[in-house]
């Protein structure tokens, strides 16, 4: 871990704006956060993603100044913030719980931080106008919190946090109390507003879809540690561990054994499978094979093809459709291959061609498969039990 004595402030790259330097937090014997370092560039939106209890809120509150870290420090633009109280940090915060002041109208809520900072009436009026236009709620300026919907309240809370032109915007699961539809809209809204204002943002969520959709980079956390840090693409396509692969996205996870030369064998399948990513693994190594549901293609197997082995000439698999679930934009089919069940997500019109009971060939697109060295079983299962 970086040590503040060995690595003085100047050693961080110029672009690093907000830096958490080996911060950790223990509550007695509980390690809520193991020492971890993280840096955000100016204008970037970084998401903390992880199952409940992995320390996301703890890290966010350390950055905000509401929780004192057990070790480490928080730097902003090279300045050590650790001794500063929250009120002096100029960080805007949006909470999971509705946090508007019930006695103030929407506009007075937004004005609060400006008044506290002694901004002149004329100037704050101008700022209010901009902000209400930005969040598109001009008509709600005079309303009180109890006269606003949950989504509107969170938008006002966002405007209130942005009013002080925060150096960093911190959001702790701001959408989790909202309905699905509102949630999607507001998610995009937050991203748009964040881009337009260029505010450096740390966003906490346990919803992987939300994280992938709005982030420049995602920090996947696991039991107070960083499991992986990367772009949404990285996290999704190239998960660094079985935990990340199984937490992010719906993956078909299978136990497999490397055969060498990019071939893997899955117990119960009577032919090996060619997987480019398996080349580096030596013969006999235990692996975890992931097949992304949306990258699987199905085609009907005609009776005269049934005689072929379960793995076709191009490394395709064959199996039987056992279940289908209509999910709106996609249909999720379960396909029994050998003694494992694969999940395949198809567009509506494609799915219509594959009724339950049909024999199908499953082909893998180049992006479909990802292999990782298998983790000790107990570990992965214990962690996913949290999810």
């Amino acid at each position: 871990m970086t040590d503040s004595v060995l690595f003085p402030v100047a050693d961080h790259s110029v672009a690093d704006y907000l830096v958490a330097e080996s911060v950790s937090k223990s509550y007695g014997a509980t390690h809520a956060l193991n020492p971890l370092s993280l840096s955000l560039q100016k204008g970037e939106l970084v998401t903390l993603l992880g199952p409940s209890g992995c320390g996301k809120t703890t890290l966010l509150r350390i950055v905000a100044g509401f929780t004192a870290p057990s070790t480490g420090r928080v730097l902003l633009g090279g300045r050590d913030l650790t001794p500063l109280p929250p009120a002096k940090r100029r960080m805007g915060m949006v909470f999971q719980a509705y946090s508007l002041f019930p006695n103030l109208s929407a506009e007075d809520n937004v004005r609060f931080g400006l008044t506290v900072r002694g901004v002149s009436r004329a100037e704050s009026e101008k700022k209010l106008k901009e902000l209400f236009a930005l969040i598109g709620l001009e008509e709600a300026r005079k309303r009180y919190p109890h006269q606003l919907s949950g989504g509107q309240q969170q938008r006002i809370a966002l405007a209130r946090a942005l009013a002080i032109e925060p150096q960093v915007l911190l959001l702790d699961e701001p959408l989790s109390a909202l309905d699905a539809q509102v949630r999607l809209n507001l998610r995009d809204e937050i991203r748009r507003v964040q881009r337009e204002t260029g505010t450096t943002t740390l966003f906490v969520t346990h919803d992987q879809e939300e994280a992938l959709a709005i982030s420049d980079r995602v920090v996947v956390m696991q039991q107070g540690r960083v499991a992986q840090l990367g772009t949404p693409e990285d996290i999704y396509r190239r998960p660094a561990s079985p935990f990340v692969a199984e937490f992010v996205g719906t993956a078909n996870g299978l136990d497999a054994v490397a055969l060498g030369g990019g071939m893997v064998e899955v117990a119960g399948w009577n032919a090996p499978l060619a997987v480019e990513g398996a080349r580096p693994f030596a013969r006999g190594e235990k692996l975890r094979l992931y097949l992304r549901p949306e990258e699987l293609r199905l085609s009907e197997l005609r009776p005269n093809e049934l005689r072929l082995s379960e793995s076709g000439p191009e490394g395709d698999l064959s199996g039987q459709v056992t279940d289908r679930r209509f999910l709106g934009s996609i249909t999720r089919l379960s396909v029994q291959v050998g003694n494992s069940t694969l999940v395949a997500d198809l567009q509506g019109n494609e799915a219509a061609a594959h009724p339950v009971g049909q024999q199908v060939r499953v082909s893998l697109s180049p992006l479909a498969a990802h292999v990782l060295r298998a983790a000790p079983v107990a570990e992965t299962q214990a962690e996913l039990a949290h999810v």
């Binding site: 929250p86 009120a87 100029r90 909470f95 946090s99 508007l100 002080i164």
Partner: protein, 263 residues
């Protein structure tokens, strides 16, 4: 489902009995207060009370003591209840228990303890113990069960942690937080606490009587023991004062914005 006639009659009867229980004595009192001997009825008893300089003196004293008690109680209890709710919810029960001690200790014991404490060598300079202001010390304790309970309930209805953190992240210090965020959201609790304190101080007899201060309650007692119809008139006047205070509270309460974040 509609109530059967029997149930309805029973209910009406019960309400009537309850109404009679409250209003018959009041009406009797009012009639008696207007009696001027024989079969003459007039307002002479009221005139006599309202002309009595003692009435004005004692009432003003009690009013002043009530205001002082309210201010001191609120200044002590608001920060304590706020802190306990925000930072030490584990201590809430302890504080609740402490606050009701004055229910358990009889006022006569309380006042004895207070005066021996303040007359001792350490506390209580003579100029303080010798003035009616000394009563406020005891009144704050007497009012504590009501002020603490009322404010605690008011604070509990708020999401103190989130509101405090939101205000702090916007740059507010503790003073701004209390004054601009917390207090405006517990105004009905504040008014309730103030009204109860007011009523307690106005009606408190034991302390003042033992310490020989001439407060409104002592005056009422004196009139009650020495005069007839003026005592009835005085009772109605003090009742009217309390009721007016209560009505004022209710009206004020109605005009306010409804509380609570989301619906």
């Amino acid at each position: 489902m509609r109530a059967s006639p029997v149930v309805r009659t029973g209910r009406n009867l019960w309400i009537t009995v309850l109404g009679l229980y409250f209003f018959v004595p009041l009406v009797a009192l009012a009639v008696f207060s207007l009696w001027a001997g024989g079969s003459r009825y007039d307002f002479s008893a009221y005139v006599q009370i309202l002309r009595d300089p003692q009435f004005h003196q004692t009432f003003r004293l009690s009013l002043l003591l009530a205001l002082e008690t309210i201010l001191i109680s609120l200044a002590l209890v608001i920060p304590a209840a706020f802190w306990v709710n925000l930072r030490a919810p584990g201590l809430r029960n302890l504080l609740g228990l402490l606050s009701v001690l004055s229910f358990v200790v009889p006022p006569i014991v309380l006042v004895g303890g207070l005066s021996s404490l303040f007359r001792g060598p350490v506390l209580g300079p003579e100029w303080f113990v010798g003035t009616p202001q000394f009563l406020v010390v005891g009144y704050v304790v007497l009012a504590l069960p009501y002020t603490y309970r009322t404010l605690d309930t008011g604070l509990r209805a708020l999401d103190l942690q989130t509101l405090s953190e939101a205000a702090q992240s916007l740059g507010a210090g503790w003073g701004t937080l209390l004054w601009r965020v917390i207090l405006p959201n517990i105004t009905s609790a504040l008014l309730g606490a103030a009204l109860l304190t007011f009523a307690i101080v106005l009606g408190e007899f034991t302390f003042a009587n033992v310490l020989l201060f001439n407060t409104f309650a002592v005056y009422i007692n004196y009139i009650g023991q020495t005069q007839g119809t003026p005592a009835a008139a005085l009772s109605l006047i003090s009742l009217a004062i309390t009721w007016m205070a209560m009505l004022g509270l209710l009206r004020f309460g109605k005009g306010r914005v409804a509380l609570g974040g989301a619906k």
